[in-house]
């Protein structure tokens, strides 16, 4: 694996150092603690030993350059990291010890490093999925089996469980566990929930301009595109906040009203639809929602979601517009009360005042559980969502 070498702390008051001379060149094999480079600071001129054994693959910082403590200065290819890399210790020329007195309260990791123990999370997941964790190859420190290793193994297990049987010109494909779960939930939903359906149209010209203005800066800062979806999520949250009747579930015991807004986010993955939950979404900015959704969607697509990620959703939002749809009739994800979609945003001629203008319009489609609410509440909810979607203007804060 590739690891980074960073500029170590060379005494407490030293914030930066200048690379004087590299003692090794790219391609050299270097043993741990062998002198790697010489640096200059106000206080210290010293050799820095290599923190790793391996091959020096890249010198990031050339000689004569000044860098801050902690910045990456070189990269190594090492065969295995048997021990957590530590910053090399150097004797400072000044009076003060280089070891910081800040209390990094030691975890028990040092005590148990030789004995790869199973963490509480690993024990629980292994029991849930019927996996023997000692049979897995651990990727953690000292070969420890991590939570991630168990989830990976559980997913692999599930996928190999699917077999197919070819008969003549057709084949019968055994549904994956995910496919089967979707099927059961959708049938249960449509059989037990009286779906009522409503659609509104919103003029989102302001939103289109707002996003146009900030998207280049956003992708530079965040590393992914700012879509319209987080703005929509924020509007739905506002709608639920004003119509809390809809943030509810119909149960045998009565109507459960949820105090917190946990939005299920429909993510289309190759194996099927997943609905991870954006928790406590009611405090987030547009950028915060964007990050959280991006993170959930990435993990959904890489197969890294855990059952916990799907639990306790109270309402679902879906970006069907991303697939080019202009109208949909979504099916509620039980036991939630509703699901709302944002369809494709399209420029269309429309009446504004007494004239006709080209405006950006979008349809918002909503299915709700008619046992919990009537058209009046649903209509009020949709008015709030539409009004938030319509009110976005260039200059509005995204952070």
């Amino acid at each position: 694996m590739s690891v980074a070498v960073t500029m170590p702390q060379l005494g407490e008051a030293v914030a930066e150092a200048t690379i004087d001379h590299w003692l090794k060149k790219v391609g050299d094999s270097v043993r741990r603690f062998e002198p790697l480079l010489e640096v200059l600071t106000e206080k210290v001129n010293t050799e820095i030993p290599s923190p790793y054994s391996g091959v020096l693959t890249e010198i990031v910082t050339p000689e004569g350059t000044t860098v801050r403590v902690g910045e990456t200065i070189a990269r190594f290819e090492v065969t295995e990291v048997s021990e957590t890399p530590r910053e090399p210790k150097v004797e400072p020329a000044g009076l003060f010890p280089s070891e910081t007195p800040v209390a990094v309260v030691p975890g028990p990791s040092q005590l148990t490093a030789d004995l790869p123990a199973l963490s509480p999370a690993v024990r629980r997941l292994a029991a849930d999925y019927g996996i023997d964790p000692r049979a897995l190859r651990g990727t953690g420190q000292g070969g420890r089996v991590t939570r991630h290793d168990v989830i990976r193994a559980a997913n692999a297990h599930r996928h190999t469980g699917a077999t197919s049987d070819a008969v003549d010109d057709r084949e019968v494909v055994a549904p994956t566990a995910l496919r089967r779960a979707i099927a059961e939930r959708m049938v249960e939903s449509i059989r037990t929930i009286p779906h009522a359906w409503m659609m509104v149209e919103a003029d989102v010209t302001g939103l289109v301009r707002l996003r146009q203005g900030v998207k280049a800066d956003f992708v530079r800062r965040e590393g992914f595109d700012l879509t319209y979806f987080p703005f929509f999520v924020k509007a739905v949250i506002e709608g639920l906040r004003q119509q809390p009747t809809l943030n509810a579930s119909w149960t045998e015991q009565g109507i459960v009203r949820w105090h917190r807004i946990n939005l299920g986010v429909a993510v289309a993955a190759d194996e099927g639809l997943l609905v991870p939950v954006l928790r406590a979404a009611d405090g987030m900015s547009v950028a915060g929602i964007a990050r959280a959704v991006h993170e959930l969607a990435s993990r959904a697509r890489s197969g890294d979601l855990t059952p916990e990620d799907m639990r306790e959703g109270t309402f679902t939002v879906n970006n069907t517009g991303a697939l080019g749809s202009i109208v949909s009739m979504p099916i509620i994800n039980p036991p939630q009360s509703g699901i709302i979609t944002m369809e494709t945003i399209a420029a269309r001629p429309t009446v504004v005042g007494e004239g006709i203008a080209i405006r950006h319009l979008v349809n918002l489609s909503f299915s709700f559980d008619h046992r919990i609410a009537d058209g009046l509440v649903a209509g009020r909810f949709m008015q709030v969502v539409r009004s938030v979607m319509t009110s976005y203007q260039p200059g509005d804060p995204v952070y």
Binding site: A4, T6, Q9, E12, A13, V69, G70, E71, T72, V81, T84, P85, R86, E87, F96, T100, P101, V102, A103, V104, V105, G107, P108, S109, S119, P120, A121, V122, R123, R124, G140, Q141, R144, T146, R147, H148, R260, R279, A280, D282, G283, M284, S285, G288, R291, A292, H294, E295, R299, D304, T306, E308, D309, G395, P397, Y399
Partner: protein, 324 residues
Amino acid sequence: MIAVTMLEAIRQVLREEMAADERVVVLGEDVGPRGGVFQTTAGLFQEFGPNRVLDTPLAESGIVGAAIGMAVAGLRPVAEIQFADFIHPAINQIINEAAKLRYRSAGAWTCPMVVRVPYGAVHGGGLYHGQSVESLFCHVPGLTVYAPSTPNDAYHLLRHAMHGDDPVIFLEPKRLYASVRQALDASCPGTGAVVSRAGRDVTVVAYGFMLHAVLDAAEQLAAEGLSIEVLDPRRLRPFDAEPLFASVRKTGRLCIVHEDNATCGFGAEVAALVAEHALFELDAPIRRITGPEIPGVPFAPVLAQAAVPAVADIIRVLRDLCLY
């Protein structure tokens, strides 16, 4: 929208609330014509006069005692303690009077008072201008403790605190007074915990200046492919634990960072909550990065710097946790 500093945000909300509600009174050392040692009350004396902006003697027990009296009599006082280090003479008023008033009178009396407290280490602050005092007040039922870390949160949380009917300790990270600018949201972004940066490998709880150090560390670790989730509690008491549990469910790893020392500190409470409610989500030991167990922040610059967790310390521990 104009980006403002935390200092300007606090001044703006004080001014807006004083204009909107004549019961709001500001009192403290040098808050009058001089506008406060940090200038958070600059211009208020000139605009609202000596009956609403009161310079007090150097006696914190008197400042808070008078504020409690005002609150009980129907005013809405905002008391400024010039530095958190000076709040100790007022502990009796805060714990024995303000925090207990509603309980002691079976709800008949309330104490709508906000005590603004600039806290945390600064260069040259020394023993008596750099303390972090949150754990003293987080322990006390009857108090609400806010610790905003951004101008927008300072603005909205202070307004929220001023509209409440019970005593609030409002901790202001003075090192962030002028160093961060941000546009203010039109509406209150809630008062509970929020995810400041989403990630999947480790959950880090931090507030005040440390929140920004952690965000910096997270950014640097992202270059190594490590994904850090940063949770800003915003309100330390009552602590909003559900977002923390949700985050730990996702990451399985937890680290708490604060300037205050570790023993019986805020991080100990966070760690205990996770151990009680989310033990079976944990895939690694909980870690804390805190100030050292020393009686005060030293004056010598090198020692003062060493008494506050540095970004390099945070990076080292988080990398350990990620690789664990």
